[in-house]
Amino acid sequence: MDISTIIAGLLTLIIFSFLYKDNPFYKMAESLLIGVSIGYVLVITWSNTLMDMLFEPLFSNAELSLIIPLFLGLFMLGRFSDKTVALSRIPIAVMIGSGAGIAIPTMLYNRTIKQLTASVMPIFTESGGLNISGIVVIVGLLSTLAYFYFSREHKGKFGAFAKLGTYFLMIFFGTTFGYTVMSRMSTFIGRMEFLLSDFLKITQ
């Protein structure tokens, strides 16, 4: 067995040791995970963003327009001192402002208009029968939206309709829970497979 598998296996076991109780080994591994993760993201961001998108084109290809994001980025570091903290608001303003500008049309189109359009389904089938699924979609959508509508008190008929919305929400939460169990178990199975076959070589 190679050293890589031994280290990966031991670290896996140390993380699992938390199931017994919190212990110094687990704490150590947890700190190492945080540190290594930050280091990894830092290096990848440095190489993929700062080098590839900023420094190389700016200094090798002389793309002078990149001075703007360079200064905006440097202004961000102004947060370290109380005297320069005002500078950091400029790059934040660029990010927040442009983000909001992009969000208006895209959110309206992709999340609202597209979704509303998809909800308009035929209520009757070709043979003239009721299309139950179509009715469920329309009633479910309207009642759930009614539940999130807070400008009117949830009382009387409106309240009952909003309550129907909570039933649909519960179905959504239930299915999501089912899939959450599935994904967590999948990861656990993956780790156990690694431990049993690669690390301990009990199974093939």
Partner: protein, 206 residues
């Protein structure tokens, strides 16, 4: 003035990005791509800011003697990655990638796998049919779980079809309502931000 300039910048960039959506002109497309690149670059600098803050906070804790060994391990882990990347690069068989594949990835997925146990204990303790809503939640979860197992029980196919129907219609429509709500909410918040009505992002007075 400290607050006026950021507000003007925010308004200008918001307006530019909003208007460019309606134009196919080369200048508009180029500007759109350039500003998206600016985003990533500024984000990279904020990451540097975060890392420096992390180091500073840890150094203070270490000097006070709180959890010293653990914090040192964390810092060493963090510093070792850029050093390895500087010396040996970040190619597929480099020590940097070795650390990622044999230290970071197994631990991260094991932490995620730990949640399987918490999900199991939550199912036992909290998943009770206390009310109509709770019973519906429970029923939906049970149907999905049963249908997503390969069990030799009768009517498996019908169960699977029913579970798919639940996912594709009643569950999907509730999620769709949430999405529409998020869409409309983001829309109004974005407009408030651009117009300078929403100013919480500016932080406190300084």
């Amino acid at each position: 003035m400290n607050r006026q300039i950021p507000l003007i910048v925010c308004f200008s960039f918001g307006l530019i990005m909003f208007l460019q959506y309606f134009s196919n002109h080369t200048i508009a497309r180029t500007m759109n791509l350039a500003i998206l690149d600016y985003w990533q670059i500024i984000f990279a600098f904020t990451l540097v800011l975060g890392v420096v803050s992390y180091i500073k906070a840890n150094m203070t804790k270490i000097s006070r003697g709180i959890d010293r060994p653990y914090l040192i391990v964390g810092l060493l882990g963090m510093i070792s990655m850029p050093i390895m990347a500087l010396i040996w690069g970040i190619k597929a068989d480099s020590p940097f990638m070795w650390m990622f594949e044999n230290v970071q990835a197994p631990m991260a997925s094991t932490v995620f796998a730990l949640l399987a146990f918490f999900v199991a204990s939550a199912s036992f303790r909290g998943f009770r049919a206390r009310s109509m809503q709770a019973s519906i939640l429970l029923g939906a979860a049970l149907i999905i779980l049963l249908s997503r197992s390969n069990l030799p029980i009768p009517y498996t196919e019908h169960l699977s079809e029913f579970a798919d129907w639940i996912r594709n219609y009643p569950s999907m429509t509730a999620r769709r309502a949430i999405l529409i709500g998020i869409g409309l909410g983001s829309l109004t918040t974005s407009m408030r931000v651009i117009l300078g009505i929403e100013r919480t992002w500016l932080g406190g007075e300084k």
